[in-house]
Amino acid sequence: MKKIATGNKAVAEAVKEVRPDVIAAYPITPQTEVVEQIAEFVTSGEMKSRYIAVESEHSAMAACIGASITGARTFTATSSHGLLYMHEMTNWAAGARLPIVMANINRSLGPGWNIWAEHTDALQERDTGWLQVYVSTVQEAYDATLMAFRIAEHNDVLLPVMVNLDGFLLSHIMQPLETVEPGDFIPPLHLPHAIDVKNPAGYGGLTGPDQQFKFRWDIERSMRDSVKVIEETENAFAKRFGRKYGFTDDYRCDDADVIVVAMGTLGKEAEVAIDLLRTEGIKAGSMRLRWLRPFPKLHLKGKQVVVIDRDYSFGRGGILATEIMAQTKEEVFSVIAGIGGQEVTYEDVADFVRKRKMGTEFWFGVNSHV
């Protein structure tokens, strides 16, 4: 069905189709519309789920964990400080191998109070064992949320998945949306380690130095296995619903000398900059990174790489740039832009490419050399 929706509504629509057994959520700007819309679906009976209006994000994730371990399908949504507040439990969810799906509406961190887009919130969850996908359009928010359930619940994965949408730039933007009827594209969840009172077991008790590393390795093994599950899921989705996604969204990369790498809406904006640069004779391309975890093998050999980070790791650098530099020997021009919702236009992105100084870092709006 074709409609017009915001990024937030698209997430809620996808969740409605998948119909989790339990939703536990706490409101935070700019995520609120997701949980309000789901609450409406549940109240109107369009969605037969239990909605737990918890008293904090820590409890939202704890409630999802408690529900998930019974074998129930679960969903929550948060943003920024909410995500940080549940950090203890995001680690628990992954460690407990629970296929919880969460939408995170990327937002800056205080102080000061800033409700605008930034990726530092989700990137601080980078090492928790969650799969992370970053989307750039309303349609992609819907499709990625739908697929997140199938990927998380796959027996070779059984890890939680976080779908990331830029605050306001996507969460509150209206775009066309085509909804689907997923049917058996999302098979029923069978959690192999679900609680069974007839076969009692202890979960997460004392674990010694001779055992703990095995559980950690098992997470990594599943993270590696998730690569083929993501590919298989995205291929099946393309075949069935006609929209194709991948680990990256590549635009005019094949013959490019310089490639812009970014995540979320900035990655999409970069495509307009690429067209502009091409008219100037600059052979540029754009590689929008969709999946941060598992981190894909990027094909950047022989290219100049301009990485735009809407985030930062103090004392080290742009987080995405650092990730890419760890993988490739190619020189990187690291641009820090869009922090706290700072406006970055396609013209700005084109300027980053034109005035790039390979091997350096540039803070948009602070440094003057570009």
Binding site: V54, E55, S56, A62, G66, T74, V197, P200, G204
Partner: protein, 295 residues
């Protein structure tokens, strides 16, 4: 149910737990699970009970136990209960948490779960300090008690968690003590008949923490009741009923010194502090008696 003989033989806490000698946490839990039966899941935050289950891959508990982070037990149980009920299952969801995980770090999640009418039983076994980490003070530590972080004795009063729970108006709440297993057994059975949240606050004397000799665990619990330091009562739909043992104590309490003297944690407590504790006992008795008498 007036004799031990009527309590089911089935054991859910097997031998060889790693509990300390004279531990009343495991003693009480044995009766809690006998009352709850096999269709039960225990949700346990960080506390002594997370340790006494044993070390992976072994467990001494014969029911599913879900261990969860310190401040998250009630929220986790809330999700679990909702998922079970959504699936049409009546499985009991019981939080078994210490005083630190209840009165301190877990109070927000617990308040939320009670306010939302979660169908579960929350049992706080109270040994009046952070026992698992070596006896630091909690807000459940009584005035005057020495802990490793109150080496000169605690200068603040014990937090009245029962009043806080009562403010949430759950259908059923009660106090209990490990020293009175039949009473505990009956209260757990009763609590599980209510739909919605119920609460049991359980006094759990701790030999290494309170510094008395291990064989005195039951005696210590009984002395707490007989001196009025602990009052056994139930609150059903707001109606308070004081237990027979505490009624007797209200008529003629044993001198508080009989409870304090055997415990190393109260060594050197000054007369003024003892006097304040006695005043609090009298005040608490009067408050509960008035509540019981209320129509």
């Amino acid at each position: 149910m007036d004799t031990i003989a009527e309590i089911p033989k089935e054991e859910y806490i097997l031998k060889c737990t790693s509990a300390c000698a004279g531990c009343s946490d495991s003693l009480a839990l044995r009766y809690v699970l006998k009352a709850a039966g096999a269709d039960t899941v225990l949700v346990v935050p960080a506390c002594c009970t997370s340790v006494i289950q044993g070390i992976y891959p072994n467990t001494a508990f014969k029911i599913p136990v879900y261990n969860i982070a310190f401040g998250a037990a009630a929220a986790c149980a809330s999700g679990m209960s909702n998922a079970f009920r959504a699936a049409g299952k009546k499985t009991n969801v019981i939080v078994y948490a210490g005083d630190g995980g209840t009165l301190d770090i877990g109070i927000q999640a617990m308040s939320g779960a009670f306010e939302r009418g979660t169908d579960f039983l929350y049992i706080c076994y109270d040994n009046e300090a952070y026992g698992n980490t070596g006896m630091q003070r909690s807000s459940g530590t009584p005035l005057g008690a020495r802990t490793t972080t109150t080496p000169a004795g605690k200068t603040d009063a014990k937090k009245d968690i029962d009043a806080i729970i009562a403010a949430h108006d759950p259908p059923y709440m009660a106090t209990a003590a490990a020293a009175y297993p039949q009473d505990l057994f009956k209260k757990v059975q009763k609590a599980l008949t209510f739909r919605g949240p119920s609460f049991i606050h359980l006094l759990a004397p701790c030999p290494p923490g309170w510094r008395y000799s291990t064989e005195k665990t039951v005696e210590m619990g009984k002395l707490a009741v007989k001196t009025g330091m602990w009052v056994l009562y139930e609150r059903e739909y707001g109606k308070v009923t004081i237990g027979a043992q505490s009624k007797a104590a209200m008529k003629k309490p044993l001198p508080l010194e009989e409870y304090l003297a055997p415990q190393g944690r109260f060594k050197g407590i000054d007369a003024k502090t003892v006097d304040i504790l006695k005043q609090r006992i009298a005040k608490n008795f009067a408050k509960l008696a008035a509540e019981e008498a209320a129509p």
